[in-house]
Amino acid sequence: MKNLIERYIYDVIRRLPEDKREDIKEELTSNIYEMLSDNPSEEEVKKVLESLGHPRILANKYREQKRYLIGPVWFDDYLLVLKIAFAVVAIITGISSGIGRAINPESVTIIGILFEVVFYTFFDILNALLAVFAIVTIIFMVIERFSKGGHHIAFDVYKLPKLPKAKQMEIKRTSAIASVIITFIVGVVIIYFLYTGKSIAGYFDGDGQFNQMTNFLNHDVVMSIFALIVISIIANIALEVVKLLSGRWTVNVLLVHIFVKLLGAVAAIIFLTRPGMINPDFITEMASYIEGMSFSTIENGFKILFIMLCFLIGLATVVDIGSTTYKYFKNEKK
């Protein structure tokens, strides 16, 4: 019986800050005994303890301030970010892991490979999602801590988001997520092939043997502007993330869009006009296959091709920036 009371009190105070435990324990003990007759039955003790409520709830009432990991003020944003992050990471991991597992399988049978790919991909996605969950939760925990529940956030009425003026100004979440994923995958593939300098082009000869062709690009020249290309790709991914988070076209999104597209065009044009970009060995090899074409004819041919590509990229970028800006201001006026 006495044991029951002690157990109840212990279950309350173990949830409280250490420096308050002893005091609360003494007071609670005293109060509980006051509530009991001199020789209480077990039934009586049970009733009194039950009237005090669940130890967890009583402890919560003793606590001076409410504690949240992520409070109600931030919870909506937390869920939204979590959902988007889950969708993006699940798809990216699914595709990259699936391809990775399929390229380098340990099994030899088709069924085995299939199993391997499906199961490993599943667990890779699961792992990635757990990591995302942890990261997003920690970020919001920190926000919660620093905003103290968000009740005292200074807020400027002029910084409230503007109402979307037209339907066209909205950026659909599904298409924005798709853009993030596609940009990411294309970017990773480009970086991978440029960095490793691997040639994927080749041909099967009569014996079914795969012959890899000599690298088309000059790896040293590629590496000399590799940083610029990586930056441009990251900027493109960031742009899509910005669009996803913004959910609509704004002046800022438009400016970022213009900047990133210009950066991409500049990077591509520098890449294409870099002297010695095409591997001379490749040209030599090509000349040996094609009759009547000398090294310089092929080299010049590629040069002209690259310059035409530069013009196309420049034109496409100008058209893209022009039409996006025009659309933005046309809808803004409505």
């Binding site: 609360i24 006051e34 009237s51 005090l52 409520g53 009432k61 001076e64």
Partner: protein
């Protein structure tokens, strides 16, 4: 379901006056259970699990002062209004009277 909503608003209505009622009974020193009984005798609906933590909180805020009395068969922690507590009580009482008058007028108006 209707009764449930009634219950919620009734509790909410009473909650604001709880502090006032608790303070009103602490001109003389009381320990947790004696105060609980005093309030229950006067038909104040309050649970032990709410009152005891509330008394502690009022003490940390300087509204109540406390002392342990060990001369009785069991040690008891007695609480009483502090100087500030009395001031607070008078202030809240005044506010309550003002408010009830205003509320009464409004409610009667309908």
């Amino acid at each position: 379901m209707d009764n449930n909503i009634k219950q919620i608003y009734q509790t909410e209505l009473k909650r604001g006056t709880l502090i006032l009622l608790v303070l009103s009974q602490l001109n003389e020193k009381e320990y947790g259970y004696s105060l609980l009984q005093k309030l229950v005798d006067k038909h104040v609906e309050i649970e032990a699990g709410t009152l005891y933590p509330l008394m502690r909180r009022l003490e940390t805020q300087g509204v109540l002062t406390s002392e342990w009395v060990t001369t009785t068969s069991r040690p008891r922690k007695y609480y009483i209004l502090s100087e500030f507590g009395r001031e607070l009580y008078e202030y809240l009482k005044e506010e309550f009277n003002k408010m009830t008058n205003e509320v009464k007028q409004l409610v009667r108006g309908n």
